[in-house]
C-alpha cells in the first residue's frame, strides 16, 4: 500500500476519528454512537443519518468492513488500511501536541492557565 493512498484520507474529521477508534474492536452502529460519545467525553455525538453515511463511505474506501451481522444490525471493524490510517493520524496528533507544549512557554501566562 503506498503512502499516498493513506495520506489522502488525512486529516480525519473529529467524527471519523472517533468512529475509527471505536471500530478497533467490532461494533454495530449504535454501539459506535455510544462509544464515541463516551470516549470523547461527550464532545462527539453522532446522529444516525450521519453515522450511516459515514459507514457507507468508509466501507467504500475500505477503511472499515462488515465482519458480522447481529439480527438486522451490521457489525463493522477496521481493515488493515483503516488501522494504518488511524496510526498515521495519531502520529500527527502527537506532533501537534509536542509543538503546543514547546510553544506554550512563550504564550502569555494568564491565557494558558487552566480554565481560562
Amino acid at each position: 500500500m503506498n503512502e499516498k493512498s493513506l495520506t489522502k484520507h488525512l486529516p480525519l474529521t473529529e467524527a471519523t476519528y472517533y468512529i475509527l477508534l471505536s471500530l478497533v474492536t467490532p461494533k454495530h452502529g449504535y454501539a459506535v454512537m455510544k462509544e464515541a460519545k463516551e470516549i470523547s467525553a461527550g464532545t462527539v455525538r453522532l446522529a444516525p443519518g450521519t453515522l450511516y453515511g459515514a459507514f457507507t463511505s468508509l466501507e467504500q474506501n475500505k477503511l472499515i468492513s462488515m465482519v458480522d451481522k447481529e439480527g438486522r444490525r451490521k457489525i463493522y471493524q477496521l481493515t488493515e488500511k483503516g488501522i494504518r490510517i488511524l496510526i498515521e493520524q495519531v502520529d500527527r496528533l502527537k506532533i501537534m501536541i509536542r509543538c503546543a507544549e514547546k510553544i506554550s512557554g512563550l504564550l502569555p501566562a494568564d491565557l494558558t492557565k487552566e480554565g481560562n
Partner: protein, 173 residues
C-alpha cells in the same frame, strides 16, 4: 377506514422538507399523528392526544438489505420509522429537552442528503425525456409537449432550490 383516522391534503415541493417536518410536528401538537404519507400530498393521520413530537425526513436510495440495517440504526438511536414514501423515510421521536432532535450531526451529511436528491433528479430527467420523445407526435404530441415543458420548468426550479439549500448550509457552517 378507521374513524380515528383522517386524511389531509398539503403540498410540499421536494426542497421543502423542513417545512414538511415543521407542519407534521405542528399537527402532532393538535393530536394528529402521521400514519401514512401518500403521493400527491395526501397524509393519513391518526387522531389522538396532543403531543410534542419531532419529525425528520431522510432521503436515501438503498437496497432492501441495507435498508434493514439503516432503519435498525435509527430505531436504536430512538427514532421511530413511521413509513417510507418513494425514497423518503419519515422518522419521529418524542420531544425531550436536552436530547438531540437531529438525524444529522454535521453539515456535510445534511448537504449529502440534498446531493442524493439532485443525483436522482438528474438521473430521472433523461429517462423522462426519452419516454416523451417516443410518444407518437400526431396523437399526443401537443399534450406531451405541454407536460415536457412543465416538467422541465419544475425540474430546473427544484435543482435551483436544492443547490440554494446546499450553498446556504455551506455558508452557515
Amino acid at each position: 377506514m378507521n374513524k380515528n383516522t383522517v386524511k389531509k391534503f398539503r403540498w410540499f415541493w421536494v426542497w421543502q422538507d423542513e417545512q414538511e417536518e415543521a407542519w407534521l410536528s405542528e399537527m402532532a401538537t393538535r393530536g394528529y399523528h402521521l400514519e401514512k404519507p401518500q403521493l400527491f400530498g395526501v397524509y393519513h393521520f391518526h387522531v389522538g392526544d396532543p403531543d410534542n413530537v419531532i419529525y425528520r425526513l431522510d432521503f436515501t436510495v438503498i437496497g432492501k438489505k441495507d435498508r434493514e440495517a439503516y432503519l435498525q440504526l435509527f430505531q436504536d438511536a430512538g427514532w421511530e420509522h413511521v413509513r417510507g414514501l418513494s425514497y423518503w423515510a419519515y422518522f419521529r421521536k418524542q420531544y425531550k429537552p436536552g436530547e438531540t432532535a437531529e438525524i444529522f450531526s454535521d453539515t456535510d451529511s445534511k448537504i449529502q442528503k440534498y446531493q442524493r436528491i439532485i443525483i436522482l433528479l438528474t438521473f430521472l430527467l433523461p429517462i423522462f425525456l426519452f419516454i416523451m420523445s417516443n410518444i407518437r407526435p400526431y396523437l399526443f404530441g401537443f399534450l406531451a409537449g405541454i407536460l415536457t415543458v412543465t416538467i422541465l420548468i419544475l425540474w430546473t426550479l427544484s435543482l435551483n432550490k436544492l443547490l440554494q439549500r446546499i450553498s446556504q448550509l455551506k455558508k452557515n457552517n
